[in-house]
């Protein structure tokens, strides 16, 4: 069975669903951040697959921009987690209630 565009898109959807489950279900803030990275990678696979099978390069350029935003998000997110851990002694997302009304 020849591998085509649909296979890559379905792989991307599976990875995105796994990341979505992890981001919603987990309590450790670092694991939530890891799940978000999986979701960003899944989107990148879809972008590159469209770029390959639609034969235009813009998909890969967008994938590069997604990587840039993911790197910035990881740096700021992990810095936030460490700052919160310093003041609250926990990284449990269900115990972050500083901004809860």
């Amino acid at each position: 069975m020849a591998v085509g565009l649909e296979h890559f898109l379905i792989l991307s959807a599976i990875l995105f669903a796994i990341g979505l489950y992890g981001a919603l279900a987990k309590r450790n803030a670092v694991v939530i951040l890891m799940s978000i990275e999986i979701m960003l990678n899944a989107v990148n696979i879809a972008m590159v697959a469209f770029s390959r099978y639609g034969h235009f390069i813009t998909g890969q350029v967008f994938a590069i921009f997604i990587m840039v935003v993911a790197a910035a998000e990881a740096a700021v997110g992990l810095a936030l987690i460490i700052a919160i851990y310093r003041s609250r002694e926990t990284v449990d997302a269900e115990k972050f209630d500083l901004m809860k009304w």
Partner: protein
């Protein structure tokens, strides 16, 4: 044929590693499986003949973000308590499965307009043309540079000792 085998192996390993990330209770092992997942996704870029992106994936995700996440796990001494699931576990499972079923039905049901040309290789010069030519993405490129600078300064300010 070799490309097909490579795709199936890489896809199976990446999905298994992603499942391990969200299911394992040991958070450090989850981080190691995340690095494996990033690496196999780089391999999938190779099967899509995106050579530049495969290199960037290994450098940025496997190298930089993997190390950053492992650092964060070591700095927050939460690894003893593992990574338990919260109250939203069942709704999250339902949402994830609904999303998956919807996407698979849409992908299978759509008539994709696939071009039968061979892929551009190597992609580096084509990406550079798209990024820096007159009608390209120069402005977005400069904004990305400013975003990275802001992220670096923000991270330093956040973790600095008072």
């Amino acid at each position: 044929m070799a490309l097909e085998i490579a795709f199936w192996v890489l896809a199976a390993v990446s999905v298994g590693a992603a499942l391990a990330v969200v299911l394992l209770r040991d958070i450090f092992r989850a981080a190691l499986f995340l690095v494996l997942c990033f690496f196999t996704i780089g391999g999938i870029y190779v099967t899509l003949s995106a050579d530049f992106l495969a290199g960037a994936q290994v450098l940025i995700y496997v190298g930089a973000i993997g190390v950053l996440i492992i650092f964060a796990i070591m700095l927050t001494r939460e690894s003893r308590r593992g990574s338990p699931s919260g109250r939203l576990r069942l709704p999250a499972l339902v949402v994830g499965l609904l999303f998956l079923v919807t996407m698979v039905l849409v992908v299978v049901g759509t008539d994709w307009n696939v071009v039968a040309e061979p892929p551009t290789e190597p992609t580096t010069s084509a990406i550079a043309q798209a990024l820096f030519s007159g009608e390209g993405f120069v402005l977005a490129f400069e904004i990305a540079a400013a975003l990275l600078l802001a992220a670096i300064i923000g991270a330093i300010v956040l973790v600095r000792e008072k």
